[in-house]
Symmetry: C2
Subunit: 118 residues, 2 copies
DNA sequence: AATTATTATCGTAATATTGCGATATAACAA
DNA sequence: TTGTTATATCGCAATATTACGATAATAATT
């Protein structure tokens, strides 16, 4: 069907999946990294750097913005995008929370026979 | 087009995006969390817990397995899935590497006028 | 005012994803 | 052997995503 049954899952699960979806495209990863490297970026710079069409970059920027990862400020006739520091930290924490749910030591302590992957 | 131009991006960017894509579905997040909570899970247990059809769970498990997040071991007529500890750590590191590229302090030091998000 | 530069949005084609019924396969049980 | 249980795979329909040309909107420049 192509439609996700969000009602079956918790708010946290849906939210994290949504965040992951925004990161699930190399162009958006690349845009994020360019923005970090240059402190801020404008659309046409990214078009030159990444080699995607202007409309495509604009679309990716829109998604990154609506996810809270970037935010843009008008500067003359350009729009300067930078990392949304507060959101960035919150998003990082959500991923850390997931990754923190499992660790090797946990496995060794509670289930020494967990040998299926070793 | 629906096709991602992977040739425009670095190996790392493509790889991280690919990993994010696997996490970009609440069912797969939920499966991961069930597997962690129960140490290991079999298909039909997840079907009961999550309320998705058996074929659907099987498909998600396949993706999680091929991404290296889970691995399965045959136990009689069931297949027991657990976290692939080594991969898990490697994947965590890739996300940490991304999130480590930006921090508030960096911003404050190098670009005090980065006020577009504050 | 007309031109130029920059970005957003619309529309569309190509492709990918999600979900599940139906079916196939394999291990065990009676 | 026949039946049961557990899982994987196939095929399909519905929906989502990706990419971009065309166009619109806005601000600066001439």
């Amino acid at each position: 069907m192509g439609i996700t049954k969000t009602d079956l899952f918790t708010e946290d699960q849906n939210q994290l999946a949504q965040l992951a979806k925004v990161l699930a495209h190399p162009a958006r990863i690349a845009i994020i990294q360019e923005v970090i490297k240059s402190q801020s970026c404008v659309n046409h710079f990214l078009v030159q750097e990444l080699g995607l069409a202007q409309a495509t970059i604009s679309q990716h920027l829109k998604e990154l913005k609506s996810a809270g990862i970037l935010c843009g400020s008008v500067e003359g006739k350009t729009i300067s995008y930078c990392i949304n520091a507060q959101s960035w930290e919150a998003i990082r924490k959500q991923f850390e929370q997931l990754f923190g749910q499992f660790s090797c030591s946990t496995t060794n302590n509670n289930n020494p026979s967990n040998a299926c992957c070793s």
